[in-house]
Symmetry: C2
Subunit: 223 residues, 2 copies
């Protein structure tokens, strides 16, 4: 789940030759379109994101958009990939400075911040998209399934490493732990979006920290 694409900030904005800009400008336009599309999809749903709807939101022609994305499905797949890049940048990459238990805690904290700070205006893109596409077979669903498996795998792997390092007890089921963390974080996203409840991320954070603490405390203290 790593991306090698340059960030907007790393690209020159002004004062360079036209020729040198040709490709980056095309790239920038595509990225700018995708960013708008991701935000729109997070608010209105991914299924409703048609070439026509996006063209109207961007006030550009449908034919202009077709030059970038050949079909609605291509557009939806590109949007999922763009949302993945944002998620990796905000949640996963910063946690990879650490290992084991520290990485696990960083992944959870970053997820909750990503939800709370409304990185996507409509809340967690993947929580919404995965429920929207769970009954829509095809390449968009396949992509979402693959990414969500990778994400759960990343949580589980960090917990497994912590277990090998002796930080998490041997009797803890790390797959179950990853499931519970993900469920609680998504629950916070759900509650925050539906009830406009700013305390939801605090509740989830409390529950997740308690769960990790229970997994790391020595067995004798719980007997």
């Amino acid at each position: 789940m790593k991306t090698r694409q340059p960030t907007e900030a790393s690209r020159p904005a002004v004062g360079v030759q036209k020729d040198a800009l040709r490709r980056p400008r095309g790239l920038k336009t595509r990225r700018a379109i995708l960013r708008k599309a991701v935000n729109l999809a997070s608010l209105e749903g991914l299924e409703g994101l048609t070439i026509g709807r996006l063209a109207s939101a961007l006030r550009i022609s449908k034919s202009g958009l077709f030059a970038h994305f050949g079909s609605k499905e291509d557009l939806q797949c590109a949007v999922v990939d763009d949302a993945r890049d944002i998620f990796v940048e905000k949640v996963i990459r910063p946690a990879f400075k650490f290992r084991g238990q520290e990485r696990l805690r960083a992944l959870c904290e970053n997820w909750l911040s990503y939800g709370k700070e409304k990185v996507f205006p409509g809340g967690c893109f993947f929580s919404a998209a995965s429920l929207e596409f769970d009954d829509r077979p095809g390449p968009v669903r396949d992509r979402i399934v693959e990414l969500m498996k990778k994400w759960l795998g990343t949580l589980e792997q960090a917990a497994r490493e912590a277990q090998s390092d002796g930080e998490i007890r041997k009797d803890v089921d790390v797959r179950q732990l990853a499931f519970e963390i993900q469920a609680l974080a998504m629950g916070a996203n759900w509650s925050s979006r539906l009830f406009r409840d700013d305390g939801a991320f605090r509740s989830a954070s409390r529950a997740i920290l308690e769960r990790i603490d229970q997994a790391t405390e020595p067995v004798r203290s719980r007997e």
Copy 2:
């Protein structure tokens, strides 16, 4: 969250006079249409449920449907109400035979069975609809918010009663407990739908039971 409408089973099916059937038959048609609409919405999303889409799925005329539901929004609201009736029947009502801790456990078990048995073919209707409508202001969203608040309130109230009865420890935050139960159950629905993972409800059940056990065990055993 109680319904007073008669169930299909309580109504006579054959052998009664035409006149006596007139009203029930209209009611039955409406209920049959709604049941189809709820199932369709659980698979394809509530926002995509238009009068036209439903008419085509039922192979009846749009004007026939307009006689029952004046607008797409009326239809969506009626679908939410029908889904609520099903949820009350399957999850809430059977748990009200008990009180306190037993009611809380029954509510959780019934929710997980409701998810696992695919009462709605597309998984939990409310998990999907609440994420779909969290950014769509209006009467449909208001209804979903109200129902989800009532549901969380029902869980919390059962836990509070258990606390008054001395079954749940005084230091347990019952609001937090209700949040965690709901998040874990929705996580199971998410995992089961997205990954076609039949074990998801077992994972959630294990997590929820552990959570309730921790809330009910005497403090001294955890020190």
